[in-house]
Assembly symmetry: C2
Homo-oligomer: 458 residues x 2
């Protein structure tokens, strides 16, 4: 492809994106395809000869776009809604062309330093300790797996050499994300050694129950090594009582990991700072700007106040002769702190976002999403046919129609079939419940109104 | 940012990229910055108010670009050189705007299905078994960690529940990548249980030595669970004798993982098929299109013929009520096969690349890179001042000036200081050696000529 062709197709792609961002709501949020339908529509063998870009772009529009679930659609209110804003798209264009790889400082100083810098800015805006160390992973599951590996090695430094020793136990609430179990499986602790701590009536971990489980495990000769507290659980966005949990962790010398994958973005808003009380005492903390901070997939931030534990576990710098790993104070080599060696230039999009919106712009977006969610929750509360099924401290509302689970499943299906909004469901206290999450940049009161109409139409 | 502004800045970004791709060689490959210099040049706090895009783009050019190691530069010949071609950049523009997340099939059918489809095309082009299962991870280190978790669980299905049991042992050659040790540390096997199998004079794992180590471990009551064979090692691109290693693995019921992160791309070229003999017997296989197949960071393919082992280890579908995980035959849910839940639409760039270049175009690029490397190796061989330090089966040449290590380190430093080529170094048989890797799309005979001039100038 010549420079001129690239310019032509590049402008065309930009035009397509501009149009998409302005009118994503022309597409049904959920695609109307069956499993395998896209696969069947595409050749089962790759082409022997290259094909013209016109054909590829036409197939993209004709086949790929209709098979997308449109996460960047203002009617997307399932799971945790997210956004890919224009400013971040510009950054990704540039980052892809540069194709930097921050394996170590030297292999791309800007990749490493901008990652450190943006994570510092965000720490400051969030009131988190300034001396924490941060790095970006693909997903919160990967970040939490690293937290668990660190907790394992903090409890037993010989894990690195001898392997995971039997008897390690980790804890998280029954409302926590299953990433905690995956992490425990991955690092060799095992699923049977994950304790699910009972939650209270508002879906928050019960510190008394945590203490009891720890005491029981200690009495049985086991080694509690990690507690994951969640600030903003996946189902209800409930907030575990971190200060009380931190007390327990400190008493017993247990690694405290905080999963704030979704709600962590709200830490930049002063009126939500209450939810992060005690987090400054955490050993590690995960927050995903790709959820609620206008950053496209993927960008999960892993902070830790004990980077030396990760480095002790994962650094193999002396084995990396081909990399000539430096060891100057300011020459951080991120590959020494985790599993991945390669490192995409993810920080550029985050830098573009933090700068274009500023602290104020991002905080105002979060405030507006919370306001929209509260308006919706107020409607639910005011309508005797419906009920809230959990408190709604952030931008997620859990609710159900008074009636059976089947009726509520049918309601969700009906709402989503219309194509202009997409809600998800979850199970709370054994009952199916609907879950509306505000989080896309383009979502407005009109989209909430539309959801309300669909939910209440007979 | 309005649509019109996005178009304007988008065109500007495309123009910048077009210019960059045409003239990346205007920049020194290695940046002339000291550790911390970029950090010091940027504000230590993020902006309270949003800043104009003009300012951000200006800072990008003024501060970020000069602090990049230019991987997309035709003179980049260090490590494994790679490329970000214009076609893939177009795909990333579109994928970022869509912001799809393939956690499960339903959360973006196109993300899941296009990943399956492109990986099938590539399997076919590579002569790998058509019934293998494939998925994309960020890096080969992550892929290999999953191989090791699968091997651990294949050897002891109770690893999932009880944790890694003591006594598991893994094997790879002394020339293998340190990702194998990281993987063993991560999954709880431990570094002391990684056996480094001696290599022969051409840096290939010695099957007799492997057999001996396994017998010794078995006699000691240990459980060999994984052998990693490398096709294209990091230092010299040597090829382990996979058929003999596969025999040993089959005899003892050990998981065979093949690390073809770099050389795997050459499997699409018939004349390099010899290097993959026996790979069809592997339990898992990793190849990184982001190394030598024109795909920008990040894209590491993990294939396995035993996906059920990974699913048994990692599936927590029943815990993921909020995802309503389907279980239709054609509804693959990739989050059940590994740690990450979120999944970026990485397959789109791969699909654009496979289609734009076709099998033939990609194979010809690999052929040309190998031809350039062989030309360079021939010059080294013909010059009595230099010597090859390893065979060069692919596009990497290891060589040194006859003399001391210090002289060779000084030579590397001098060559890299010029700014128009970037070579790396490694240690072979205890001696420092230079490493020239051809792998960037824009690298031509002129760049090799320039490297030669720099190397031979007194």
């Amino acid at each position: 492809m010549t420079s001129e062709e690239f310019r032509r197709f590049g402008y065309q792609a930009i035009d397509w994106v501009a149009d998409y961002l302005a009118h994503a709501d022309r597409y049904p949020v959920l695609p109307r395809v069956k499993p395998g339908e896209l696969t069947d529509a595409l050749p089962s063998c790759g082409p022997e000869k290259g094909e013209p870009m016109e054909t590829i772009l036409a197939d993209f529009e004709r086949l790929i776009v209709p098979a997308m679930t449109h996460w960047n659609h203002p009617g997307f209110m399932a799971y945790f809604a997210n956004s890919s804003p224009p400013e971040a798209i510009l950054a990704e264009v540039l980052a892809t062309a540069l194709n930097g790889n921050g394996m170590v400082w030297k292999t791309s100083p800007a990749v490493t330093e901008l990652e450190q810098l943006t994570l510092r800015w965000l720490r400051q805006w969030s009131g988190l300790p300034d001396d924490w160390f941060g790095m970006i992973h693909d997903t919160a599951s990967t970040s939490s797996m690293h937290a668990m590996a660190a907790a394992r090695d903090a409890a037993d430094p010989q894990s690195r050499t001898r392997g995971a020793q039997p008897g390690l136990v980790v804890y998280s609430s029954e409302q926590s994300h299953f990433a905690n179990e995956k992490g425990a499986i991955a690092v060799g602790i095992g699923r049977d050694n994950v304790r699910k701590v009972p939650a209270d009536g508002e879906f928050r971990m019960r510190p008394d129950a945590l203490e009891e489980l720890i005491e029981r495990d200690l009495a049985a000769g086991l080694k509690p090594c990690c507690v994951t507290a969640t600030v903003g659980t996946t189902s209800t966005t409930s907030v575990d009582p971190v200060p009380a949990i931190a007390d327990i962790c400190e008493t017993h010398g247990i690694w405290l990991h905080v999963d704030a994958a979704y709600a962590g973005s709200a830490a930049i808003v002063p009126e939500f700072r209450w939810a992060f009380e005690g987090c400054e005492r955490a050993d590690s903390f995960v927050t995903n700007p790709h959820k609620w901070l206008l950053t496209p997939m993927d960008c999960s931030i892993f902070y830790t106040r004990r980077p030396e534990i990760l480095r002790r576990a994962f650094s193999l710098a002396q084995n990396a002769e081909f990399l000539e790993v430096g060891n100057l104070t300011r020459e951080v080599n991120l590959m020494e702190y985790g599993v991945p060696l390669g490192r995409r230039f993810r920080a550029l999009k985050l830098w573009f976002v933090l700068r274009s919106y500023g602290h104020e712009g991002l905080a105002n977006m979060i405030r507006e999403h919370v306001r929209l969610a509260r308006d919706f929750a107020a409607r639910i509360e005011a309508d005797p046919r419906f009920e809230l099924t959990a408190p709604a401290p952030f931008s997620v509302v859990c609710f159900r129609r008074k009636g059976t689970d089947d009726e509520n499943r049918a309601l969700l299906e009906k709402v989503n079939a219309a194509g202009d909004v997409f809600l998800s469901g979850t199970v709370l206290n054994g009952h199916f419940t609907l879950h509306l999450a505000v989080g896309n940049q383009a979502t407005t009161a009109a989209h909430i109104e539309r959801a309300w109409k669909l939910i209440t139409s007979e």
